[in-house]
Subunit: 133 residues, 2 copies
Amino acid sequence: MVRLTKKIEYALMALKYISDECDKIVTAKQISENLNIPNQLLAKILQKLKKEKILESVQGIKGGYKLGKKLNEISLSFLIETIEGDMGIVDCLKTDRQGECCQTDSCNIKDPINQVQTEIYKVLKNKMVSDFV
Amino acid sequence: MVRLTKKIEYALMALKYISDECDKIVTAKQISENLNIPNQLLAKILQKLKKEKILESVQGIKGGYKLGKKLNEISLSFLIETIEGDMGIVDCLKTDRQGECCQTDSCNIKDPINQVQTEIYKVLKNKMVSDFV
DNA sequence: TTAAAATACGACTTTTTAGGTCTTATTTTG
DNA sequence: CAAAATAAGACCTAAAAAGTCGTATTTTAA
């Protein structure tokens, strides 16, 4: 299965929402209510985006989030890695799982799978979040 | 997450194995033992491939499988659809799930997601199983 | 004609991942 | 200091992937 998770969808929706608000600071609550996204889940996604400087945050009662990068500087691949971590299309190509595969010896398709991964990755790398606006 | 399932991996491995045996008939057991794939699971994958004429089968004690199509006629996208069914990268783009999404009204990213899907699909459609040999 | 070995098929169980919640801290403003 | 926001981690639940079990059917050959 080739799919984007809800978290990625929510991140894209939120980024678009924040972008539409220009330089105003918006709260997680505001976003989740407007876009119909579970509040706490969104909060954690936004925190991950903040860690990678995709968003900037302000704490406290007047706090919230605003963009930390321009949308055309954020690739879909970077967004996915920020939220989901290392993105191998199969386990044995994930950097943190290498050597775990019990098929290593009998596997006859590793190189070509790698090629597919490279090509999909290229698509995701060339797709910018700004394309979603 | 963008990933291929084990089933797809197993299918690719099996197809390569069968292809390497030229026109000899090979049994599921033989494949699973040589490639270290759970027997029953492989058996069901092979049956799906058979239903789409990717493989031909012979029943009975001298039975087994052989190729029903040339590997360069089988695209990765067709293989995925054969094994996993309809492949939308997000639920709302799956043909059997349209209208189920509770975000329909607030969703602000449907069209661009559709574009990403189209591009990934293109990669998978242009990648033939023969590229895996 | 029956035993063995293969495919065929559906129900079931287990494991893993995704999705979502709860709780508690910390920060900031009025 | 109360209120409302971010911050963070543990936890729970639901869904999907991965794998198993049981049984029927087909075919060959002794």
